[in-house]
């Protein structure tokens, strides 16, 4: 059956078509649609497909399923694997009975991430096999392959996707008439295997792991590499590639009319290194094109192998065909012109920056925080989510990783005692990684303010549900109180004076107490159709041009997308973008130039 699928949807079909019964993980671009698609297409199939509070938790929930004998998978973005890596490093020794597919979506080019780390490197570090699909159709096939290898060799297997696979669309031929075969989980006690304690058991498993890797190396050669080597023509030079990078190379060779052998590696680790080194010897020069770290290149390194380590490929940022062409030139495979030189240059165009949505309460919070806690006397640590866009309002000083706003607020409060530290974090990020650092802060008697921006949704990644939303028995306020911090709750109103006055109260209380003060701001996401209607007053704004003095306060301190200067150099509000929150009318403008549209 042929379907047009996004890479992440293709992976979801691959999971179902390999009888995967448990899927968990944490949302993160570009991986989020994998789990949501499983939820959508599983219908009545007996599949547990649910989000977890963070990647490590999701990994462990699913992995236990694989130990109990059912096929399972965990999904996350590349930085999520950093969080789950503790579990992975031990799981790679212990292994699994049912299949365990670890799906990680990388983001070469930092499109929506703080790093462009290569998860294949992580697979190599953990000594587990990794498959690297090039397109959505291949992602479907490789998901099934990963599941098969995982079950057969009793090891976790990584499916490494990248943004250009996860967020591409292709026509995918999926299995017709597939019958899902349910397996009843049946945990078999085997303490020496399943309980990762030092030392004898681990030593034995470490040797078994090496043995297993050799067998998989052999499988990789016989099943995946040898058939492709047989098709090589024996040209003077060779290019070795894997994953999405392969697509760039294949197109460049066609478009430049070059006849160079191209070997695609489906499983970049573990590689049959000796056999590949033999192959490499038959060619004059070999170029390795892979994304983003030199994994294959390092494994097969020889005198005539070139790539990133030799300085022939670009070192950072996403691959493109021009970069492949430049490498071909550098190594001497091509001498012609650069056919990817732009024919037209963009000139005089306004670049649109991502911004908080019109009506988003996060904007009010940063505006009010800065009014009450002035920038010169404050430090603003923040965290990862939509609210990170508060950086446009200069309401954020630091962003590191999930949950770090809390621990860094603690650290700053010790190091720089002359400033007030006021940190911001979303509710989902707080549940993900904010709780242990808050306990630590209370434990160590720290003094700072933490503002939890509770919109009850994981807004940035497509509005997945949060623990409290799904089950109100998870009580954010009780959790914070249970950590020992003091709580002040704010029920958001689209009136900037109310928000500013609330933060004045916060400041007063902060000065009175000697412990972390946590603000829980109960607000909403404008894209959240279920809840937004209860919050939006429908007061649309316009500008009284006589009052506007072009002071820039709204465009630099409030930064709402509909606001822009017109040709008369007066602020104007784009009526198509304004959603009627009315906040700007309540007191953003020093000269009261914002007025309700109904009054004009």
């Amino acid at each position: 059956m042929k379907l047009t699928l996004m890479g992440n949807e293709a992976i979801a079909w691959g999971l179902i078509h390999s009888n995967t019964q448990m899927v968990s993980g944490y949302p993160g671009t570009p991986s989020s649609e994998i789990l949501t698609t499983v939820q959508k297409i599983k219908k009545d199939l007996p599949i547990y497909a649910e989000w977890a509070t963070n990647e490590k938790v999701g990994f462990e929930v699913a992995y236990a399923g694989a130990i109990a004998g059912v096929n399972a998978a965990a999904t996350m973005k590349q930085v999520g694997l950093n969080v789950a890596s503790d579990a992975l490093m031990s799981a790679s020794f212990i292994g699994n009975k049912g299949a365990f597919v670890l799906i990680v979506a990388d983001d070469p080019g930092f499109n929506s991430s703080q790093t462009e780390q290569d998860s294949r490197e992580f697979a190599r570090f953990a000594r587990i096999p990794v498959v690297d699909p090039a397109t959505p159709a291949e992602a479907y096939e490789f998901t099934k392959l990963a599941s098969k290898i995982s079950k057969h060799f009793e090891t976790p297997v990584m499916l490494r996707s990248v943004m250009r696979v996860s967020h591409s669309r292709e026509i995918v031929d999926i299995d017709e008439g597939f019958k899902f075969q349910e397996v009843k989980g049946d945990f078999q006690r085997d303490i020496s295997r399943w309980a990762a304690v030092p030392r004898a058991g681990r030593l034995k498993q470490a040797y078994e792991q090496l043995d297993r890797l050799d067998k998989i190396r052999e499988y990789n050669y016989k099943e995946l590499i040898e058939p492709k080597i047989k098709e090589l023509k024996g040209t003077k030079n060779l290019i070795i590639s894997s994953g999405a990078a392969y697509g760039y190379v294949k197109e460049v060779l066609e478009e430049l009319g070059l006849d160079i052998d191209l070997l695609k590696i489906d499983m970049p680790y573990p590689l049959p290194n000796d056999r590949l080194k033999e192959l490499v010897k038959k060619y004059e020069k070999v170029l390795v094109v892979e994304e983003t770290y030199p994994v294959i290149e390092e494994e097969i390194r020889s005198e005539n192998v070139y790539g990133r380590m030799s300085g022939h490929m670009h070192q950072v940022d996403e691959m493109n065909k021009e970069r492949v062409l430049e490498a071909l030139k550098k190594i001497g495979f091509y001498e012609g012109e650069n056919i990817y030189t732009p024919a037209f240059e963009p000139h005089d165009a306004h670049i649109r920056k991502p911004n908080l949505c019109p009506g988003c309460p996060h904007r009010d919070m940063y505006f009010a925080i800065k009014k009450v806690f002035r920038p010169k006397k404050s430090i603003y640590p923040s965290d990862i989510g939509c609210y990170t866009l508060g950086i446009n309002l200069e309401g954020i000083d630091t962003v590191l990783c999930m949950g770090a706003s809390v621990s860094m607020a603690h650290g700053f409060s010790i190091a720089d005692k002359n400033k007030t530290v006021i940190a911001t974090i979303g509710d989902s990020t707080f549940f993900h990684g904010g709780i242990p650092p808050l306990i630590n802060a209370v434990y160590q008697k720290a003094k700072f303010i933490l503002v939890i921006l509770d919109n009850s949704t994981v807004a940035m990644t497509g509005r997945q549900t949060t623990p409290e939303r799904e089950n109100p028995e998870v009580d954010l306020k009780k959790v914070v109180e249970g950590c020992g911090a003091e709580v002040m709750e704010y029920f958001y109103k689209p009136d900037i004076n109310e928000t500013i006055n609330f933060f004045k109260e916060v400041k007063k209380r902060y000065e009175e107490i000697d412990k972390p003060l946590v603000v829980i701001s109960r607000q909403y996401c404008v894209l959240d159709k279920e809840r937004a209607k209860d919050f939006l007053p429908g007061i649309f704004a316009t500008v009284d041009e006589e009052k506007c003095v072009a002071c820039d306060v709204c465009t630099t301190q409030f930064v709402c997308p509909p606001m822009h200067y017109n040709e008369k150099h007066k602020i104007e509000i784009d009526p198509l973008l304004c959603i009627g929150c009315g906040v700007c009318i309540t007191g953003i403008c020093p000269t009261d130039a914002f007025i309700p549209r109904s009054e004009k």
């Binding site: 042929k2 047009t4 671009t29 570009p30 499109n111 929506s112 090039a134 397109t135 250009r164 967020h167 591409s168 669309r169 292709e170 026509i171 999405a244 392969y246 697509g247 760039y248 294949k250 197109e251 493109n320 065909k321 021009e322 056919i339 990817y340 030189t341 732009p342 024919a343 037209f344 240059e345 963009p346 000139h347 005089d348 165009a349 306004h350 670049i351 649109r352 920056k353 991502p354 911004n355 908080l356 949505c357 939509c386 866009l389 940035m460 990644t461 997308p561 198509l576 973008l577």
Partner: protein
């Protein structure tokens, strides 16, 4: 058959919808299709551009000077994406005027038309596709094929989208 299209706009303009329409059109004609779109930060009003490659391709990204057609739902976004267009390529853009370059340019002030009530501004993406269907002679799909794809994505809104598409085609005939 090889045809490369860049659709440029910003969050909320329905760029991704057009990608879906074209992918279904390709599938039904038995053409290979690869498309890619930006997610994440771009959903918050930032630039959204999509690359669509129809025919024998292996990677979804279009490189500089390769696109046969640039559909711009916004003038600035279209200008920013000009490097992807090949010399002599075609541009269909929502703009009252557009830089004069060595390309076939169809600039339509669709924002103005929406304000005059010619069509619902929410259907800007479909309107620009209609202009494309009428003006771009080497466009690989017919009006009926596009309509069938729109119907498949959402039968409920299909009549409204057909209306906008037909209006755009009529409008384009007279310019």
């Amino acid at each position: 058959m090889k045809y490369q299209i860049v659709v440029a706009g910003f969050g909320g303009q329905g760029v991704v919808f057009l990608v879906k329409v074209l992918s279904i059109c390709a599938g039904k004609k038995g053409y290979k299709f690869l498309g890619t779109e930006n997610h994440g930060m771009s959903q918050r009003g930032g630039s959204v551009s999509s690359h669509i490659k129809i025919g024998d391709f292996y990677n979804p990204l279009i490189d500089y000077a390769q696109a046969d057609l640039l559909i711009g739902l916004d003038k600035d976004e279209a200008i920013l994406n000009l490097p992807y267009l090949k010399k002599g390529g075609k541009v269909v853009v929502n703009a009252d005027e557009f830089p004069k370059i060595d390309a076939e340019i169809y600039a339509i002030d669709a924002n103005g038309l929406a304000e005059q009530g010619v069509f619902d501004a929410k259907g800007l993406n479909v309107f620009m596709l209609g202009i494309t269907l009428e003006k771009v002679k080497d466009f690989p799909f017919s009006v009926d094929e596009v309509k069938a794809a729109i119907e498949e994505i959402n039968p409920k809104f299909a009549p409204k989208n057909f209306e906008i598409l037909d209006k755009a085609i009529e409008y384009a005939k007279n310019i």
